[in-house]
Homo-oligomer: 486 residues x 2
């Protein structure tokens, strides 16, 4: 209702202010000044011809590699981030530290898991983030097989006490990655139900869309800050198929595992920040970025070295312009995203503390790999929509469709989104993202240079225009009225 | 020269015996009797509609899984083979044991390898078969990078004493797998040169055509029965890229490894044999098969569960005919192929001992995965070529081209080929075989059921016709003259 009402109000205001009283839906057309358009198009062209983002992600994955939140490797990644931002000419480069409860695998990226009955053979499996270790001598137990999470949730009758619960949901691949949420329930919540029923541990088919013999790791959920006391592991898709085949034969199946995972106490993580300072309103901030941490089994090239590299490269190209845009572009390389958006929360809390939340005029994160961008979505006040549509028209030459005005902006934007900061998102083709996500296979060779360059072009145009156009993207404060596009 | 001469002789003989004196090159057309053709075509049709081969390879990889030569797992595979052959109605099912020097990884399928300088991060790597272990505390040494095997072989000047040699040859993918031999030189012989130069160990880019983060294992060579005293490992392609990138920066690179590989003394391996006994000439043998052993890191689905399954299924379908073919079809599931064709040699030696080498009228192995067959090659006496061409015409309906008359018959046929046994081969499309070969990713889900069924159809037709047609495929004995096709 509020949306409809304010749209009505905006329409009225817009009418009186409009030079060309042509209405498209609730709002008139906004035209980007010719010189600004030219600059944006020049940025796009430069980006398409540049290897900068590929160089950045190659540097990160070569010189740092895996960088689990809270580990010395993540600290090395922060040092890398500071040095790289300075090297690229960013201003106000700094680290904002925050405390983090450290979880690690404890031993190595190789975990020993095997079927011991009826057909002994090794499995490729990996502990999920937050899981507990097995007893020191390992754990061998009978397997209770569930075809999917719903079956498991609803089956309170079967006695799983002292047994290993296996949940076999399959994930559907798609451009949007929409299958991730449903398939991820078993990863996030399976252990809670299993532990409540006295299970000795939980195994799941990896949340992923590939058929490679890699297990996909990822964090479990901690409802009411509860932490697991049992081992929780993902097994590779071919191994899940094997377990399924054995289960179908109805014979007693046993699995043995030996894991060392656990919580290691409080350590330091941090967000790395750099800015292209605005020429007119340096206090107004367009915040973009990716997350710097990665899982320990891959090298975090797609997740999320790509997002780090794309947004750094886009901002650097904007910084190279003869004139900075009106507002400040702030690149944030978030720490500790994988383990629960810890860096994103710390960033938002720090902005509440320094009173600058409202200065964030737009936020957007790249955290979905490096395939081509196909859609541009926003969440801005309705009066500003025509200007965002105009940005959308510029992005169209890169093959990007205009999406809706309900964008979340990306995982690390969730806290800012919640606080009312306007959002934008440039959605990448995610049809094979979950082939590589959270596996050893997340390496830089999986990035297609031309597709990554298209990403940088889109980010450079969108970020530049969002920071340059004299339009307020924000929702009006209580008591204010939205300002129309100018 | 001998070929040309005998072709001339055969031409003369063929002329006098021929009912239809039409010459194609040196020989007349051979027509398969109509009823026999019908039977062959019926077999093909049955095979195309059958899941038998897929069921067999699924059974092997599920109930046994990896089965390294000489291990208890390979012994379980022999038990499986005996039971499966009996279940399928084969006769004379038996195991022929032979002694084997056992090599194992010693610890687990996960080996600890990491770059320690300048950019510490773990690598996905695996010991090659025959390699020695590191010292108990592990081995850390500087890396000397070579772009390819030739560079390494020719560079006697560089001091590699106490260092780790890395060789980075890339393999070319193709339908025929022709790139394997050249790329494999570094795997087979790299250690010999490195050890002679005092190197502490050898690392190679995996011999394979994929970009997955799996290392490809495989046996090294043992010239003059010499065995390695140094660790020898393959690293995954993305990790080899990483090593290459670091090497290009010119900084000192160090790698640390800890491996447990080594020789464990003499054990027992064996070949499993089953027969479809011939109705007229039971003593004459068409020998087909695959190898039963596999590498320890995968499940040996493509290499060579597929070959075992395809040839067993083809022979079983022939055995189900109302009348067995004239000659015996012998299916041999060879042991210990991967570690040096030990089962194949044992089989050939046993046949020399029992005087039945000459009774082998044709040999052929399936050991190149389960993609569609595209070519039929032979090595038979020239008088028998028209009959093989006729078999080729039957195979053409499956999309199979007629190849030359210089087939080797497959790895486990090498000793029999050497002894003059006629050979045939049904070449599979190998363009992605080396994506999976000798990796954890060699699992049954990689097999396309329809392609495997085409394999069985081709093998059933070829094997049936080779055993049924009244044509002698063998080279004439000294003093004999080749018999023309009838």
């Amino acid at each position: 209702m509020r949306g409809v009402l304010s749209a009505g109000l905006i329409g009225l205001v817009a009418l009186s202010a409009s030079a060309a009283p042509v209405f498209a839906q609730n709002s008139e057309r906004y035209d980007i000044p010719a010189e600004t358009r030219q600059t944006a198009q020049g940025l796009s062209q430069t980006a398409l011809e540049s290897d900068l983002a590929l160089d950045i992600v190659t540097s990160l994955t070569t010189e740092v590699g895996p960088r689990l939140a809270g580990t010395p490797q993540e600290a090395r990644a922060r040092e890398w981030g500071v040095a790289k931002l300075r090297e690229l000419g960013f201003e106000n480069v700094r680290v904002e530290e925050f405390p983090l409860d450290l979880w690690t695998r404890g031993h190595s990226i190789y975990e020993e898991v095997a079927i011991t009955a009826p057909f002994p053979q090794p499995l490729y499996a990996i502990s999920l983030g937050g899981a507990a270790a097995t007893p020191e001598a390992g754990l061998e137990a009978e397997v209770v097989f569930y075809a999917n999470f719903d079956d498991f949730e609803q089956d309170a009758a079967t006695n799983v006490r002292g047994k290993l619960v296996f949940i076999n949901d399959r994930m559907v691949a798609s451009r949007t990655g929409a299958g991730y949420g449903p398939a991820n329930r078993k990863r996030r919540m399976g252990w809670v139900i299993a532990e409540d029923r006295g299970a000795a541990g939980v195994l799941i088919r990896s949340v992923g869309t590939d058929t490679n013999r890699f297990a996909h790791t990822g964090m479990v959920s901690f409802p009411d800050d509860r932490r697991p006391n049992v081992p929780i592991l993902a097994v590779s898709a071919p191994d899940a198929d094997l377990i399924e085949r054995i289960a179908e034969r109805g014979e007693t199946m046993k699995i043995k595992l030996k894991t060392y995972a656990g919580w290691r106490g409080e350590v330091t993580s941090g967000n790395v920040i750099g800015e292209i300072v605005g020429r007119e309103h340096p206090e107004e901030i367009v915040v973009i970025g990716g997350h710097l941490d990665s899982w320990d089994n891959g090298t975090g090239a797609l997740d999320d070295g790509a997002g780090v590299a794309i947004t750094m490269a886009a901002a650097k190209l904007i910084g190279d312009l003869p004139h900075h845009p009106r507002r400040t572009i702030r690149v944030v390389l978030f720490g500790a995203e994988e383990v629960g958006l810890v860096g994103a929360r710390a960033y938002a809390i720090a902005r509440m503390a320094d009173g600058t939340v409202r200065d964030h005029v737009l936020g957007s994160e790249s955290d979905f790999g490096a395939r081509e961008i196909w859609q541009f979505s926003t969440k801005v006040n309705e009066a500003a929509l025509p200007a965002m549509d105009a940005i959308g028209r510029e992005l169209a030459v890169l093959g990007i469709l205009r999406g809706d005005n309900d964008s979340g902006g990306g995982p690390d934007m969730i806290p800012l989104d919640y606080m009312g900061v306007p959002m934008a998102s440039l959605a990448q083709n995610g049809e094979d993202y979950f082939d590589f996500h959270h596996t050893p296979n997340d390496t830089v060779d999986k990035i297609v240079p031309e597709e990554m360059a298209q990403n940088v072009a889109a980010w450079a145009m969108m970020t530049y225009l969002a920071a340059e156009l004299d339009v307020d993207w924000r929702q009006p404060m209580e008591g204010e009225q939205a300002q129309p596009s100018q």
